[in-house]
Symmetry: C2
Subunit: 154 residues, 2 copies
């Protein structure tokens, strides 16, 4: 299992570290399946202290397929202090949330500053975490930091 | 379909833009399915001018499940000049490559500077692209650039 202590050459992050990284992030990627094919799409998101990930999307987006499905959620970044990269993965079940204004919506607003892309993005989803794993790994090119940043910044 | 001209509030990237971004990147995420559950894991990668994505992993990694499976591959980043973010998604079929030293391995070496994480990572894979899409989107917090970078840098 990725994220276990047996991962080759990788430092495994504690759950507390994972939840801390999740709570500070704002961009992640949702992995889901449509018609038997995996999809990965980036989203603006927010996470609460339990690692519940919330995001929103447009009614026309493929992402609306996530409701009631198992999904994966991933964030990653670099750690300049340690000259490494890190990643956190959440696996869980996605569900659609009630309109903001209901208790669920209010809770969302209280934990998020999600803005997402412009346009009508009024479908809200949450991922209830079942497995949260993280790892820290050396990143190619981080010494000459352009290497990593070229990857991230295009 | 995400990446089509109908995406709400998003600018669709041309295939040439997508291939250019792919060829310059070095970190991406592979989306795949294991036991019916989607997984997303980051990898160091390289891509050639056709968008063929190559990466390697350890024999013990979940990623070895990708062989002969449909997979998704995603990169994203920010575009400071336009104060936007962008993402490129590849959908295609993954296959395991021969050992470096064979013609396929030599080709890989010629297009890559993959290093990956330490440890034995001697399983090489390629993703043959079937669909390549990209989009540019406003990024929350980019005005106060710490917003985006907090997400990326943890």
């Amino acid at each position: 299992m990725e994220g276990s202590g047996s991962v080759v050459g990788l430092e495994v992050l504690s759950e507390a570290e994972c939840l801390g990284l999740l709570s500070r992030g704002c961009v992640g990627r949702v992995g889901f399946v449509v018609g038997g094919r995996p999809q990965v799409l980036p989203v603006n998101y927010a996470a609460d202290e339990r690692g519940v990930v919330v995001f929103r999307t447009a009614a026309t987006s493929l992402l609306t397929a996530v409701a009631h499905q198992p999904v994966a959620f991933e964030i990653d970044g670099v750690d300049p202090a340690h000259r490494t990269g890190w990643s956190v993965a959440v696996q869980g079940q996605a569900s659609e949330l009630a309109e903001p204004g209901t208790p669920a919506g209010d809770r969302l607003r209280s934990v998020t500053e999600i803005t997402g892309a412009p346009g009508q993005r009024d479908r809200w989803f949450a991922i209830e975490p079942e497995i949260v794993t993280g790892r820290r790994l050396p990143v190619h090119g981080l010494d000459a930091s352009a290497g990593w940043y070229e990857g991230i910044l295009g």
